[in-house]
Structure formats: C-alpha cells, structure tokens
Amino acid sequence: MATRRRIVTEAKLLLIGIPVTIWTLLPIYHLFLFSISSKDEAFAGKLWPDHPTLRNFSIVFHEQHYFLNHFWRQFGNSLVIACAVGVLTLAIAAFAAFAISRLRTRGGRFILNCALFTYFIPAAFLAVPMYKAMGGYGLLNTQWALILAMVTIAAPYAIWVLKQASDKLPYELDEAARIDGASPLQLFRLVYLPLMAPSLVAVGTYALLLAWNEYLYAFLLLSRDEDITLPVALGHFLSADDSPWELLMTTGLIYALPPAAIYYAFKRYMVAGLTSGAVKS
C-alpha cells in the first residue's frame, strides 16, 4: 500500500513537473536551436537542424555583421556598467545599513522609510526626469549616466534588505567589539562585513543583474553605438526589415550566459548559518 501511495504521489509531481520544465526550457531550446542553424534552416520548424553549425558564433565573435560591428565593445560596456552598479550599490547600501542598524544613527528610520517610499514610484515614471537630470549634469552618453541611474534604482531595496539582515546580528557583538577597542570603522570592516557576507553577495548580485538586464534606461541615456549596452544593441536588430534572427538569437544566448554563471558561482555563498555559535539561541 505504502509503495503504491508513493508511486501515485510521484506520478502527480511528475505530471506537474514535466509541463513546467518544458514550459521553462522550450524558449531556451528555441534560442539554442536558432543559434546553431543557418538562416535558411532556422525557420524550417525542425527539432534539430539537418546541418548544425557554429558559424553564427563565429560571425558574432568576429563582429562580421552590420548589427554586430561593436559586439565586444557593447559586451564590455554591459559588463563594466553591471559590475560598477553592483559594487557601488553594495558600498552605499552596506554603509547605510550599518549606520542605521548598528550605529543607530539619528534619523535612520526616516531615511529607511524614504527608501521604501521610492518603491511606490515605478522606474518608468522616473525615466524622463532622470534623462533631464543627467542632461543637466552633462552625463548623457557616458557610462556614468546609466551607472548612477541604476544605482539610484537598486540602492533603496538593497538598503532595506541589508538593514533587515543587519538587525539579525546580535548587538552584543558590537558591544563586545567596542569594549575590545574597535572603532566604528574597525567594527564595520572586521566584524560587520564578514558576518554580512552572504547577504552582501545576494544584494550585490541583485544589483549587478538588474543593471545587466536593464533596457529602458540604457536605451534612453546612451545613444552612440560605441556606448550602448548589449540589450539595446539586441533591440537594434529589430529595426531592419529583414532581421537576422539567427544572429539575434546567438547574441541573446551569449548575453544570457554571464547571469547564469554568476548565479552558479555565488550559489554557495548564499547560505545562511554563518552567525551560528555567536550567541546562545
């Protein structure tokens, strides 16, 4: 009986699991299929091309197409901007959360509430004001424009998350460190940051991927072909009457790889439990 019940349960799970898996993987498979097909074969509707080829990748990597003239430059732009946004957001949010949660700075709660309030305003609403502001600062068409805009969007949430995580660290640790002779900066560097590492990695990854995936702001703030990021460049493919779909898909596949790699690399840092043993729980 017991075995039979188990089989029924597993069958049910499979019945849900298989469609969900197919649903998720089909577009990715589609992407992959296009990237290894020649232009003629791409639309043939086959599950596997008759003559799979890596030519598309070669074209992308050697920038041998009108839309791909600046592929590496644009890939680099995306990378630099995403990393800068990750690092800056992390620095701002870590200092803010430390000051609000651990140093208990006066007015901290107010700042935190303001940060939360910004979430009532959709990012798209701010696109035009942001464009005007960046124009005012003379930053349009520079990477700083996009970096600052993305940090502005990512920071409030990052501060909020880090503040919540900071509150979970036992306050006695700070007191012990103060008595041991730590200045606030030493406390931050030697006690706070190491204990916050899992949350910092999670928040940094969030900001980095937010910037990596951003289209609207990148499209607005950057316009020269040499300055734009990869998602905007991908958008340009669609402006032609006869879009090179197989190259669009190939570039898209390459574009999707770094986030996957980042998730995989940082997965193990995102485990909790680093604070176990600090205080009696």
Partner: protein
C-alpha cells in the same frame, strides 16, 4: 588592578528613571557581586561602568579617574556577556587575540598572551576551532579568555552563567572564583541568583527598584539583613515571615500573631503594641521533643534532599519552611513543636520594612 567608585549615579530612559542615585566603592582586587531581581537596574549599572550606557547624572570613577566621558575602549575594562558574544567568523585564537590585534600589539606578544590565557582556562586543544564547534561551557571559557588576555583593570561579568545548565553552572562558578583568586583583578559580577552571589562574592550589593538595599559580605547580609527585602532575597529556602504585634509582659517579649500564636523574641527596640514583621530562617527553626515548650505546628509536606530534609509546616494560619538536619522520620499530618532561639529572630517594621534593632 583598580578601585571603582560610583557617586550619586542616576539613569533615566526618557522620562523613566531606573537608577536613583547610587553611591558605593569597590576596593582594588575585590570580587563585588551586584544582585537583585530582574529590572532592579543591576545590569544597567554594569553597562554604565562599561561605557555601553550613558550616565544621566553622577560620576563613575575607575582608579580615581572619572570615566563618564571616556569611551569603552579607553576605560581598560573587559566584559563577559551573558550571550558570550563571540565573533562567529573567528577561531578561538582570533577571538581571544582580537583586542590585542586592535591595539596593534606585536604578533608574538599576542601569541604568548593567548597561549597563557588558553593554558589557564584549559582551552589549548580548541584554539583553532570556531565558536559554533564548541559546547556552552567552552564558549563561556573563551569569553573569559578574551577578557583575561587583555589584563584589564576591571573585569565585568553580566550574568555569565545564566545560559548554562545547572551542573555546568556550579562548575563554572568555582572556575571563575579560582580565576579571581589567581589573578586578583577587581571584578564586578552581575547576577539575579543569590546563591551565585553568596558563594562567589567578597562583598554583595543588593539592589531593588534602582536603589541599593544593602552592601555587605555574604554572611553579614545573611545574619543581619537591614530590611525585609534583603532578608527574603538572601538565603535559600527564603526566610519565613509572619505578621504580628509586639507584646511585652514583665520583662519578656513576644510577637503575637492574629491566630493567637506567641513567637519568642529577645529584648527588642520595638515598643509594646507595635505592628512588626517577624522573620526566622528555615535552618533556625529546630524541632523540639514532645512536651517541650515552643511553637506548635503540623507537617504538610516532607521533602528529603539527602543531607537535609525540608519540611513545610502549618503553624496557625501561616505555612513555614523548616530545614531539619539529617533524615526526618516525620510524615504529613504529624504534630510537631519548634524551639525558636530568640537570638536568631529578625524583627522588621511592618510599614517601612526596616530592621528593628535590638
């Protein structure tokens, strides 16, 4: 090593005053215990000494220097927290050496001092472990080790044993005491457990509602409590008390309770007819043979602990605890008589709770 003095220290959180002008001195090398029920302000007082709480008014001095405006790190104190507060990302070695590292001490110096502390506390096999890999008692010892590598002027302990189980608590109690006897560093120790206070202290400060009730050696507090609060707080089982009126008849005195029982007292400063609280400790009530004069009672509960037997006895309207040495052959329902030595009786004013002097 250093002396510590509190002078008119007050603490208020907003409009709520929690410490009402406390003054006392701790001598160089003394083991001073602050004891009292939770909320009495003992931890707040310790945290003010540590520099973790602002002092609302009054002064605290360490070794003659007023430290009100001195940072914790410059007070040359070390503190052991109830929760241990070990740095979870550092090994035992790094936890113990952290304060020296912050002071930019020489690497070899740190190594030597950590090794010495580890040896004193039997922590040598655990130096490379992390706090999460240690038992409660070992973590407690690391917390103490972190304090002693500093060789500070004053050790502060904030309920350090509350998180340990009963057996370990007794063991750590004697370890802390032995450590103090070895290092002779001035120590301020906060606890709510009067047994810890009695067994460890050179002197005890009994606190209640933000004021000091009494300061004295453990036995002074036990034998001559200044007031009813101290009388009932110190000693286990707690002192028996009954309410009555003092009566004097031709040279002898007794306390008469409303249920008509006469309790013997020595000559007392109290006036005839004065309402008093009559107190006697469980170990000062002695079972008398039948027919002897004394206070009559009836056994309610018999609790043998091995070496002693605790009896709960109904006397008139009151229930008293009696500590009988050895093993009693009594059963519930037995009628007994006690002899009360008037010299061991404590009388307190019913209104103020203050001790009435003989």
């Amino acid at each position: 090593m250093a002396s510590v003095s509190f002078n008119g220290v007050e603490k208020a959180f907003g409009a709520t005053k929690v410490i009402h002008g406390i003054s006392f001195d701790i001598r160089d090398g003394e083991f001073m215990v602050l004891v009292g029920p939770s909320g009495c302000g003992k931890s707040t007082l310790l945290r003010m000494l540590a520099g973790l709480e602002e002092i609302t008014s009054g002064t605290i001095a360490i070794d003659g220097r007023i430290v009100n405006d001195v940072d914790s790190k410059d007070r040359d104190i070390a503190m052991v927290f109830q929760s241990y507060a070990l740095y979870p990302h550092m090994s035992v070695r790094d936890n113990m050496g952290f304060s020296l590292r912050l002071r930019r001490a020489d690497k070899r110096e740190i190594e030597t001092r950590v090794a010495r502390a580890a040896q004193i506390l039997n922590l040598e096999p655990y130096l490379d472990r992390y706090p999460r890999e240690l038992s409660g008692g070992q973590r407690q010892r690391v917390a103490m080790g972190r304090a002693i590598v500093r060789d500070p002027k004053v050790f502060l302990f904030d309920e350090p044993l509350s998180n340990l189980d009963a057996k370990l608590r007794v063991q750590m109690r004697s370890e802390i005491k032995a450590l103090h006897q070895r290092l002779r560093t001035t120590t301020v120790y906060v606890t709510h457990d009067q047994i810890e206070a009695m067994t460890m202290a050179d002197r005890i400060v009994v606190m209640h509602d933000g004021v000091i009730e009494q300061i004295g050696t453990p036995l002074e507090l036990y034998d001559h409590p200044d007031n009813l609060f101290v009388a009932q707080f110190i000693g286990s089982p707690a002192m028996n008390v009954v309410q009555g009126t003092l009566r004097r008849t031709n040279g002898t005195a007794h306390v008469l309770t409303p249920d008509g029982i006469q309790w013997p007292v020595a000559s007392s400063g109290a006036a005839d007819g004065q309402p008093v609280t009559y107190g006697v400790r469980p170990d000062h009530l002695e079972l008398a043979g039948s027919g002897e004069r004394g206070v009559p009672g009836e056994i309610v509960v018999v609790e043998p602990t091995g070496s002693e037997t605790e009896l709960v006895v109904k006397v008139g309207a009151a229930q008293l605890v009696v500590e009988a040495h050895g093993r009693a052959t009594l059963r519930p329902g037995d009628k007994v008589t006690f002899a009360v030595n008037p010299a061991n009786v404590h009388l307190f004013d019913q209104k103020s709770g203050q001790r009435l002097t003989a």
